[in-house]
Amino acid sequence: MSTENSTAAINKKIFEVSDLKVHFTTSEGVVKAVDGISFHLNEQETLAIVGESGCGKSVTAQTIMGLIKSPPAKIIGTIKFKGENILGSDLVREYRGKKITMVFQEPMASFDPLYTIGYQMTEVIQKHMKMSSSASKDLAMLMLKKVHIPDAERRLNEYPHQMSGGMLQRIMIAISLVTNPEILIADEPTTALDVTIQAQILNLVAELKSEFKTSTIFITHDLGIVSEIADRVVVMYAGKIVEQGTVYGIFKSSLHPYTQGLLKSKIRETKSGEELPYIPGFVPTSYEIPSGCPFHPRCNYAMEICKSEFPKERLIEDRLVSCHLYSQDQ
């Protein structure tokens, strides 16, 4: 859906995360939710962060937004927005909700049930854009129309419980784009929705993205969605990035065994009666992340070195991959 976009993507970094670590000290030990990840976002592109529960993808998003308090969390590394480090600086307050905005997974939980949609929309507009209340109401209405909410005027006076999940997610998207942000972070925005509604929301995001020229970080566990919307992909496993590259490269010839496993587990191409391809074992909990490469207990190619040492990231064609399989031949 954003094919015309991807070809026009300007390869100019707008945002860069370097060696980011987010560790939490708990009574059961240190949880390394995010453990040394580096990636960047180019202007106007859609970057998908893919991974399963506990891989650190949501913590990454929350850290970018400055939503994780430190202390108690230990956050190391840099997060640069247009060249300026915003991690731990007051700048994040200025940017959050204005230049960098976020859409959350649960539309039902993202709104305050006690206030009308109109109030919650104009609150954001007045806070960030210094507009009069009537002007902000007009803008809110215009945004509701942009996300295809019929009868926008009436909807402004209604409460969140009067809307469906799909509609709330549209409104959430309207709120997140009203300040004309430079970066939109969408954390599993369609996971709680049905497939037909999901398709509508994904189309809406693509449509608005080209209108507002927003760079997008899209967090998901669904590779189907990734193939539909992303320009580049970051694959995370147990707090680490195992592979990143262009969406075409990753879907054509993934390098990391975990990415390969995820791509193979597509049900659609398996005939009835044949066994479904799968990755053995289970996703480790954050308390007991395996040593070395965290994927080694589930990996068919695991070697001795994988148990003790996390592989360095290597550049192979369009791809950055962290796997010992590719260490020797370089």
Binding site: M1, V195, Q200, N203, E228, K266, I267, E275, F282
Partner: protein
């Protein structure tokens, strides 16, 4: 045949006011007929709120239908179980088991694995001998691929996939003839889902259990089931053999459902072509005529006033103008 539903309806009353008078009805299941044969997998697909979980609960006799008839077959006899199970209760409870969607809610956190799996055995007084019972529970654990030394552990020590295996072991304990699986993999991680599906299929083959498999995942339903029912707003809108329905979907809803599933090829992005507008209507205020007409791209006058019947021979469809 294991079980048969004829024109089953389930309405829930909406009560309000001082005397809790009935103000309206949630028409969760509206006229569903369905058959489950021995040793077969029946798939039910639909979006949230379409009534698929209510249907599952009607089948396992958690709910009583408002109208219609449910028949249970056992050893050549048939039993009308629409309202009560009567004399067949113990047999029915043994024969029909269920696996729930969320393994984080369906296991009692205060019971260890042995207690969880052996509870149905004790309720039905299967073993008099503790040792035999323990051996049997170990056997079950092996079937579902868990280590037998995990018996004394508690649910919180397991991952989602492992918990779902425990739930499967419990469901198998009484040697059921029908297993109702309500979205058994949708709460699990992607890399673990296929393991559980493989396990369920292996068990089906070895033990000849019938499955009623409920899911919103079309790929999974196509892969796993022989016969499928597509549900929209409590009604069966299309029914047939899985291969027929997927190769030639007839109902516009089935077609748009299939088109809405994201592809896996970044070179062919297809979601941008979808034209399905609107959202599923509420079962409290269903639209007149065909329930899909407000969203259907092919709506005509007739669709607004007259509800189509489910017609056809092997491949049935409830649509005035099916897409042939």
């Amino acid at each position: 045949m294991v079980l048969n539903l004829e024109n089953v309806k389930k309405y829930f009353p909406i009560r309000a006011g001082v005397f809790l008078q009935v103000k309206g009805w949630v028409r969760a299941v509206e006229n569903v007929s369905l058959e489950v044969d021995e040793d077969s997998i029946v798939g039910i697909v639909g979006e949230s709120g379409c009534g698929k979980t209510t249907l599952a609960k009607l089948i396992v006799k958690v709910y009583r239908p408002t109208e219609g008839r449910i028949t249970f077959y056992k050893d050549g006899s048939r039993y009308d179980i629409t309202q009560d199970l009567h004399s067949i209760e113990r047999t029915f409870r043994k024969d029909v088991q269920m696996i729930h969607q969320n393994p984080f809610d369906s296991l009692d956190p205060r019971m260890n694995i042995y207690e969880i799996i052996s509870e149905p055995l004790r309720a039905h007084k299967i073993f008099d001998n503790k040792k035999e019972e323990r051996e049997y529970v170990k056997e079950l654990l092996e079937i579902v691929g868990l280590n037998t030394n995990m018996l004394e552990r508690y649910p919180h020590e397991f991952s989602g996939g492992q918990r779902q295996r425990i739930a499967i072991a419990r469901a198998l304990a009484l040697n059921p003839r029908l297993l109702v699986c309500d979205e058994p993999t949708s709460a699990l991680d992607v890399s673990v889902q296929n393991q559980i599906v493989n396990l369920l299929l292996k068990i089906q083959k070895e033990h000849k259990i019938s499955y009623l498999f409920i899911s919103h995942n079309l790929d999974l339903i196509r892969y796993i089931s022989k016969r499928i029912y597509v549900i929209y707003l409590g009604r069966v809108v299309e029914e047939g053999f899985s291969r027929d329905v997927f190769s030639h979907p007839l109902h516009p809803y089935t077609i748009s459902l299939m088109q809405s599933v994201p592809g896996w090829d970044p070179m062919i992005r297809k979601l941008g072509n979808i034209k399905l507008e609107g959202e599923p209507p509420s079962p409290i205020n269903p639209p007149s005529g065909c329930p899909f007409h407000p969203r259907c791209p092919y709506t005509q006058e007739r669709c607004k006033s007259e509800e189509p019947e489910l017609l056809g021979d092997v491949h049935k469809v409830a649509c005035h103008f099916p897409r042939i």
